[in-house]
């Protein structure tokens, strides 16, 4: 067990190091300057531009810049070039905004795909299976922003209620319920849009997994025992079909810091995706690199947790 931990940590640290180097190189070797340094602005003399480059350490050799950046990152001193705010603080603020969307999106994805996928598998090639298959692929195939606009226009013009932002602008009420439900409403469309792709993919995956398990001998054994329909499919088959999904819990971890730029831009959601996108546009390297680093850590931690979870749920795997 300790050996497994140790090996994982060492291996993942090495991976993380390479991730940090690669992302640093991608960003710094690409042409372009931080948006603060705008060479076509008549107000900026070369002197000012030079001083800005110095301030951002851009005048130093790459490896020094790398060391300086990660020194700052680990001491928590990294600041955004755009507004000089601490990067970690900015990320935390966005994280809190993105969190409800992430939670609800995940909840929708998981609660919808399982019943759908299981039922489709049990009634393979039946009308339910065929229609959900078709619907899933419609959802996967439609360009997200096209779907989003169609939905927004329908809701806004027919229901006459606001959908953008995290809550209705300027809403004030003494009732906590009103404020809460207002927030919930503003979550509905973006989380549905965020979840559709996930539901489609996951329900297909659940169906495939279930189909495989339903064909197994032990399911027949369970039926031979005289177990009910539920006992056979929802106890014996599902338990086995669930195993690979347990690992997906770990892989969801990086989703905490992700977020769809497109959905967030359309819905004016002040989330992580938009911040990352704006950072890329403004070439706000500290923000991009920090986000990337955290994502890397979360991905690696996620795979680690997946491995552990798998060991917990599958009795066949032991260290």
């Amino acid at each position: 067990m300790i050996a497994f931990f140790g090996r994982s940590v060492v291996q993942k640290s090495i991976t993380l190091f390479f991730v940090s180097v690669v992302s640093f190189l991608v960003i710094h070797l690409a042409p372009g300057q931080p948006s603060q340094i705008d060479p076509l602005n008549p107000k900026f003399t070369r002197e000012v531009v030079e001083r800005m480059r110095q301030q951002f350490h851009l005048d130093k050799p790459l490896h020094i810049q790398y060391l300086l950046f990660y020194r700052d990152l680990f001491t928590g001193k990294t600041v955004s070039w755009k507004d000089s705010r601490p990067v970690l603080g900015k990320i935390y603020e966005r994280f809190l905004n993105s969190l409800p969307l992430f939670i609800l999106g995940t909840l929708l994805t998981w609660t919808f795909s399982f019943p759908m996928g299981i039922r489709a598998a049990i009634q393979r090639n039946g009308p339910f299976d065929k229609s959900t298959t078709f619907l899933s692929y419609v959802l996967i195939s439609v360009p997200g922003f096209f779907f989003a606009y169609v939905l927004i226009i329908l809701v806004v013009t027919h229901l006459n209620v606001p959908v953008i932002d995290m809550q209705t602008f300027g809403v004030t009420s003494d009732s906590v319920m009103v404020l809460f439900m207002d927030r919930v409403w503003h979550l509905v469309l973006p989380s549905i849009l965020g979840a559709t792709g996930g539901i489609a993919v996951l329900s297909r995956y659940v169906r495939g997994q279930m189909l495989e398990i339903i064909g197994m001998d032990y399911v027949r054994t369970a039926r031979a025992k005289g177990l009910s329909y539920d006992g056979v499919y929802y106890r014996h088959a599902l338990r086995n079909a669930l195993l690979p999904f347990v690992t997906m819990f770990g892989l969801m971890l990086p989703g905490l810091i992700g977020g769809s730029v497109i959905i967030e831009s359309i819905f004016g959601w002040p989330g992580m995706g938009r911040m990352a996108y704006e950072a890329i546009l403004a070439r706000d390297y500290p923000v991009i690199l920090t986000l990337n680093f955290i994502t890397g850590v979360l991905v690696l931690a996620g795979t680690f947790i997946s491995d552990l979870l798998y060991m917990v749920v599958d009795p066949r795997i032991r260290l």
């Binding site: 042409p31 372009g32 705008d38 060479p39 076509l40 602005n41 008549p42 107000k43 900026f44 002197e47 000012v48 001083r51 800005m52 001193k77 600041v79 507004d83 000089s84 705010r85 900015k90 603020e93 966005r94 909840l107 929708l108 609660t111 919808f112 399982f114 019943p115 927004i152 226009i153 806004v156 006459n160 209620v161 606001p162 953008i164 932002d165 995290m166 602008f169 300027g170 809403v171 319920m177 439900m181 207002d182 919930v184 409403w185 503003h186 979550l187 539920d230 499919y233 929802y234 106890r235 599902l238 831009s265 359309i266 819905f267 004016g268 002040p270 938009r274 911040m275 704006e278 070439r283």
Partner: protein, 699 residues
């Protein structure tokens, strides 16, 4: 436990909760009509968030918009583009001019004279000459001075410091009550044409290291010029201006703001504006005197920049903040201060709340010196998507947004809205690289311009929201020369001009000259739909007259760094955004045509160079206008750019939003909102208010 039931129950429950939330949301009607407070609230929508609420550090438009409401400068432009005092009640511009006694040259009228005699003779003859010298109020002889100065010389790679001992000769100071850039030219009539130019400063300057005689002379000329203009601006501040925290705004705050800009650690983007300043001094709490190193006519306009509160941002405060944050004071600058997110200014609105990427909220400043604005609250909502912006506007939850031309065309059919438009600042053009053939021939450039139907572009790309432009000055200012006629759309004429220049149709339909085909690449940056459209239109138009054009859309930074800055392009589509100031030095002066400089088309014209310098040194408006008109003609003649259009900005407002003027006698006057000449419909924003009914509707 029945897993199947749980699996079906969970999504049902979630769906029910989500859908039931619909019944709790205030509808658009409830937000607009059902909410009386909404009338005292102005909500604008912006695509991007502000960065820094600090007028000295911010450079983006969203920050600028908010900073303009929270902070206030010493002055601004009024509706006729004249300067209007804000924090400053009045100001005075005068000049002190100096020249060194040249003991090696004889004066034209009086021969070789000493300083005292020269002063006396000068005063006497100026008095005799009369009106032409009225503006000279005082002439004085200053004794010789000695000083030391350290300068850095050499190429950036091999810099070295040299300390100079300067033993300057006696100087004569002339005090003028207005700025006269030609003062020394006129004096040269009295003192002889050689008097100033023959002044040799080298003997008065001793470097501490050996220098070649050339560089010695050059250095000496730098530190000891023969003649110096020192324009002076003296501001008198309003006595009753207060910051939002109640602290009075004084000359010390102005001085502090200047020092903050010039502090290199703050990396203020405004440094270049104030680089010509020699000194700023607070004479008394309400008087500031600014002395300039040289003639710099845009100087006055730079003081429209917002004034920071010194009592909140001085070194002691910054140090306290740094310690509170656990940072070393050496690492901490104004850029990192929380002030930039919780600003305190002296403008008509007080900062209230800022939620990143969501909204910024301000409330009115009750003690504003000009009286509090009518709106109680100002909010800027950040809505990145233009389509949802439009929907919010249409629903009435946003009062103002950056409306696109085609949206204006549609929405102005709705009688709830009132469309505005006016000439914007900034123009679009096609620039040619004059260093490369065939663009070195003005006839070719003119012909290319004539082949493009600019009116069509304006009509269809801009939906008519644009005006033709013929030169580099803002069209709504006096500097613009309306006598210059735009190029006609005349493909046949263009062909004729090209034929004159030697270009004949080749076998493949492309024009040829000496075996060289008329083919080039037109580039612009991506992300700008109008430039993209112009790219397509120009390519098509030029194809019609037999010019083969390849097009390329480049990402902004690549476009700038690899192409524009390296002067590596044939022709490009770009735009300049301008101020009201007529200074064209960086964009048109021939000295600015190297790599990384802004005269990237390589325009060179001796007369234009001279005019550009004169314009930036001329403090007299009429004279400046005359220079500008001539410069405009020269540039239009040379056609280094095909000047396309200046856009008309467009805006839509609810008709219920009006100007409500509270007259001194207590009466209230209601006026519709009209754009001012400056291209600014929000000029009277402090008087705006939203009525519950459109004024036309009430009898």
């Amino acid at each position: 436990m029945n897993i199947r039931r749980v699996l079906i129950f969970a999504p049902t429950l979630i769906s029910l909760v989500l859908l039931s939330s619909f019944f709790w949301v205030p509808s658009y009607d409830a937000q607009t009509r059902g909410n009386p407070g909404r009338l005292r609230q102005f909500i604008t929508a912006a695509g991007g968030d502000a960065n820094l609420l600090n007028p000295v550090l911010a450079a983006d438009s969203s920050s600028g918009q908010i900073n303009g409401l929270i902070f206030e400068g010493l002055l601004d432009y009024d509706e006729n583009l004249n300067f209007r005092g804000r924090v400053a009640e009045s100001w005075r511009i005068y000049e002190q001019a100096y020249f060194h006694l040249n003991d090696k040259a004889a004066t034209a009228r009086w021969g070789r004279v000493d300083g005292t005699t020269l002063v006396a003779k000068l005063s006497e003859s100026l008095r005799q000459e009369g009106a032409a010298w009225d503006h000279v109020k005082d002439i004085a002889l200053l004794p010789p001075e000695s000083s030391t100065q350290t300068v850095t010389i050499g190429a950036p790679s091999a810099q070295k410091q040299v300390t100079l001992r300067i033993q300057a000769p006696a100087r004569i100071r002339l005090t003028l009550d207005r700025v006269d850039q030609l003062l020394f030219d006129h004096l040269a009539v009295l003192l002889g044409p050689e008097y100033f130019s023959s002044f040799d400063p080298a003997p008065y300057v001793t470097p501490d290291a050996p220098l070649s005689s050339d560089s010695h002379l050059e250095l000496a000329r730098q530190v000891l010029p023969a003649t110096v203009h020192n324009p002076v601006i003296e501001f008198h501040l309003r006595p009753n201006v207060r910051f939002h925290d109640g602290h009075a705004l004084t000359a010390a705050d102005v001085l502090f703001t200047y020092n903050t800009i010039m502090n290199p650690r703050n990396i203020s983007p405004r440094i270049p504006d104030f680089e010509p300043v020699q000194s700023v001094a607070a004479i008394d709490p309400l008087t500031v005197r600014i002395v300039y190193k040289r003639l710099y006519s845009p100087a006055l306009g730079t003081w429209a920049m917002g004034i920071l509160p010194a009592h909140l941002l001085d070194d002691a405060h910054l140090q306290t903040e740094a310690t509170a944050k656990g940072l070393k004071p050496g690492e901490f600058t104004l850029r990192k201060s929380d002030f930039n997110r919780h600003p305190v200014g002296s403008g008509p609105f007080v900062f209230e709340e800022w939620q990143s990427d969501r909204y910024l909220r301000l409330r009115r400043f009750e003690d504003y010196w000009e009286g509090a604005p009518n709106y109680h609250q100002y909010a800027m909502r950040i809505i990145p998507d233009p389509l949802t912006q439009e929907m919010e506007f249409y629903a009435g939850t946003v009062d103002d947004y950056n409306v696109l031309p085609h949206q204006v065309a549609r929405l102005s059919r709705d009688e709830r809205f009132h469309p505005f438009s006016g000439t914007a600042l900034g123009y679009s053009y096609i620039g040619y690289n004059l260093r490369r053939p065939p663009f070195d021939d003005p006839r070719v450039r003119r012909a290319l311009g004539m082949a493009i139907d600019t009116n069509q572009i304006i009509k269809y790309v801009l939906y008519g929201q644009g005006e033709r432009i013929t030169g580099p000055f803002p069209k709504q200012t006096d500097y613009y020369n309306h006598d210059v006629k735009p190029l006609p759309y005349d493909p046949q004429g263009a062909l004729k001009l090209l034929a004159e220049a030697g270009w004949q149709p080749g076998p493949d339909g492309v024009l040829q000259k000496n075996g060289r085909r008329l083919a080039f690449t037109l580039i612009t940056n991506n992300g700008n739909p109008e430039r993209k459209a112009i790219l397509a239109v120009a390519q098509d138009a030029w194809k019609q007259i037999g010019v083969e054009v390849n097009t390329d859309l480049l990402e902004w930074s690549v476009f700038v760094e690899k192409r524009v800055n390296q002067l590596d392009f044939d022709a490009l589509i770009l735009g300049w955004s301008m101020g009201f100031d007529p200074d064209l030095y960086q964009i048109w002066h021939s000295s600015q045509s190297g790599p990384f400089q802004l005269n990237f088309v390589g325009f060179k014209n001796a007369e234009a160079d001279d005019l550009i310098l004169k314009i930036r040194q001329e403090y007299d408006h009429r004279q400046q206008v005359a220079y500008c008109h001539r410069l405009h003609e020269i540039i239009a003649e040379a056609q280094p750019y095909t000047f396309l259009y200046v856009k008309r900005w467009t805006a839509l407002l609810d008709k219920r939003i009006v100007r409500q003027i509270n007259l001194p006698d207590g009466r209230v006057e209601i006026k519709p909102i009209t754009p001012t000449k400056t291209g600014n419909y929000t000029y009277y924003f402090n008087q705006w208010i939203k009525l519950s009914h459109s004024p036309e509707a009430t009898p």
